[in-house]
């Protein structure tokens, strides 16, 4: 095993919460400076929001990550993070928004300083926290290649040497002497990534840069990245996009609320992360009729969503819901109005609030048009796999009487997340557009071979 090239020890980063610095009125500072003129220079002025010199009443001991114990004016974006990365490893940093992923990367890329702890990095660093860093709209493509390259840490001679390669990779040769402001955003992105991809650092930090561009270009970028790891270089990769990371990273670090909670093989950490992130509200139960949601026609006893294979099993070890999982949505309800002609109607909304579809038990002849006696009912809706898109879904339940008026409406009765399934993506790593993602039957055939066309 080779030596670790990145060693992170007890790294912590504390931010000041709320209004903070930007709104500090200049007059306060001037006042302070008049009272204690040297403080501005020598250390703990209230401008500083971190560092051991900051004279805050909060002590580190006992302060949990995320929220400092003594005062709510500070927040620990990272706390006591330890890990090592060996040469040639590709490590994915995963976690929800606000878990501290980007803060960690910023500290390692040195755009911000840690509040405590330290890190050691052996080798030349390239950081891709954003593509197009240093681009200026008034400069030409050619000039921007040099500027961006220099900012990313390339020497002029190095850019000279790789210039043709960069331009070829970017596919914007024809516009090299056009000011960047006339480029389409896609072209800007290509050029930016082309520069970044030709950095030759021993250690590369990457943050969410693949969420852009078209599929072919994404593929090219990923290819370039895996080339980088194959050459023995080290990559630390932060992304929300598990699919993209999976093809690159062998190992993952899971952050939660600023703490490192798991570190291991990518697949294991990823599935742990996904399992933990399944929404606990995939089942709700109201055992007492009196306080159950509803009205004098209907009361809800239980709603749940499971993968079809889990049906009947306990919720504890529920299988992860992916875009391919067939789902079972179950409702139990008391009918309080005997002989009512009831109908359930389910509205499925996507994360963006788009109504994906509306479904009801129209294919169930047993109860169609028949009055419901009083009592407890269970209705089950079977959603096939390959129907929902990934992301959060919200369900709204409608109970309709006599096919005419809504007697009960329950918004957001269930919320659940459908996870990405890497296998079905086929090389596309961006967002999958559309309210649903049905896998439909397609056929393709060769009607007439090219040779036959030429003969005619």
């Amino acid at each position: 095993m080779s030596e670790p090239v990145i060693r992170v020890e007890r790294i912590g980063k504390r931010y000041r919460l709320g209004e903070g610095l930007r709104h500090t009125a200049l007059r306060n500072v001037i006042g302070d400076a008049l009272r204690a003129p040297l403080r501005l220079l020598t250390g703990s002025s209230h401008i500083r929001n971190n560092g051991p010199g900051a004279s805050s009443p909060v002590t580190n001991a006992g302060a949990s990550a995320g929220m400092a114990a003594g005062s709510s004016r500070f927040i620990w974006a990272l706390k006591d993070v330890n890990f090592e990365v060996r040469q040639g490893e590709a490590v994915g940093v995963i976690g929800r928004n606000g878990a501290g992923k980007s803060t960690l990367l910023k500290i390692l890329a040195r755009t911000t300083r840690p509040t405590e702890g330290h890190a050691e990095i052996h080798g030349r660093i390239g950081s891709l926290l954003e593509v197009g860093t240093g681009f200026h709209p008034e400069l030409t493509g050619r000039e921007n290649v040099y500027m961006s390259g220099a900012i990313l840490g390339m020497r002029k001679a190095e850019i000279d040497r790789k210039f043709d390669e960069i331009v070829a990779f970017s596919e914007v040769e024809r516009f090299l002497d056009t000011p960047l402001k006339h480029y389409s955003s896609g072209m800007q992105m290509r050029l930016a990534f082309a520069v970044a991809a030709h950095l030759e650092p021993e250690i590369l930090f990457v943050d969410e840069v693949l969420a852009v561009g078209d599929a072919a270009f994404q593929k090219k970028c990923l290819g370039k990245m895996s080339e980088v790891t194959n050459e023995g270089r080290t990559i630390l990769f932060v992304s929300h996009n598990a699919a993209a990371m999976q093809s690159l990273c062998s190992r993952a670090i899971l952050l939660k609320d600023g703490l490192l909670i798991q570190d291991g093989p990518f697949v294991a950490v990823m599935s742990e992360y996904l399992a933990k992130s399944t929404n606990p509200s995939t089942e709700s139960l109201w055992p007492n009729q009196s306080d159950a949601p509803g009205n004098d026609v209907i009361r809800i006893r239980k709603v749940s969503v499971h993968s079809e294979s889990d049906h009947g099993a306990t919720n504890l070890d529920a299988e992860l819901i992916t875009v391919r999982t067939p789902l079972v949505i179950e409702f139990e309800y008391w009918n309080l109005k005997p002989r009512a002609l009831l109908n359930l109607s389910l509205l499925v909304y996507t994360e963006d609030g788009v109504l994906a579809f509306n479904t009801g038990p129209v294919t169930e002849p047993v109860w169609q048009g028949k009055p419901f006696p009083g009592g407890l009912f269970r209705s089950v809706c079977y959603l096939p796999g390959d129907l929902l898109n990934d992301g959060f879904h919200r369900l709204t339940l409608l109970v309709v009487e006599n096919q005419a008026h809504i007697v009960y409406r329950h918004e957001d009765i269930l919320t659940f997340e459908v996870h990405e399934d890497g296998a079905s993506r086929k090389g596309w790593y961006g967002d999958w557009p559309g309210a649903t993602r049905p896998a439909l039957r397609w056929t393709t055939e060769l009607v007439s071979p090219a040779a036959a066309l030429q003969q005619r």
Binding site: G20, L41, N49, T111, T112, H122, S127, E130, I151
Partner: protein, 290 residues
Amino acid sequence: MSTAVTTSGSTGLPDVPVLRITPPSRWWVIPAGELWAYRELLYFFVWRELKVRYKQTVVGAAWAVVQPFLTMLIFSLFFGKLANIPSGGLPYPVFYYSALLPWMYFAASVQNATNKIVENQNVITKVYFPRLILPISGTVSGLMDFGISFLMFVVIMIYYRIHPGWAILMLPVFLLLAVLTALGVGLWLSALNAIYRDVRYVVPFLVQFWMFASPVVYPSSLVSARWPKWAWLYGLNPMVGVIEGFRWSLTGTGNPPGRMVLASFAAVLVVLVCGLMYFQKMETTIADVV
């Protein structure tokens, strides 16, 4: 594409730069080695600014001449011909242009450096490099305009048949003093501007006040004649030394550098060192607040 990086494997990782990331230290050091390592980036920042500055302008770099030239005409007319300010025997155009050369450089550089951190905030939050490069580039790029407007001065000198003496050899010293003054002030203002955006509204006033506190429109002999005991205090304004030094070395007349210039040198040293300290203090948090 055959060179896999295999420098490690053995212990100690030879020839590989080791970077230690630590919480900000309470001590400050001038990161001279680091600045040297990033000299090409400094060059690129200056280059970018020069490239961008006169894009989409009609007369382009001629602005570097037009501004001081028109100002010189106005000063010569109003302060010279109308107010009869003594010029020590120099033609007013020479008297004013020789002061406007360093003054315009200084004013532009201070304003330029002040905005550097805010202007480049998207770069600062994404990539590491010594932040000092930004205000430095703001003061260095002004030298281009200085050079162009200096050519105009040569023309004026030829027109008035004024020959500079040996004193002109001292000009680089005064230019250096001007650069260091602009940098020292720029360091303070750019760091302050990153946190308090009030600064950008203050700077134009500051520059205007400063001009009247410097011997741009009048000779400093006027001040030392009126308040002889306080001349050294006046000299604490580093631009006094710079402007008097320029007039003296370019035209061979006026006050040779004396105590006043020494005071200026001392003052600029203090401003610069404090500026460096303050800037470095801010550097550690700039990405978090900018």
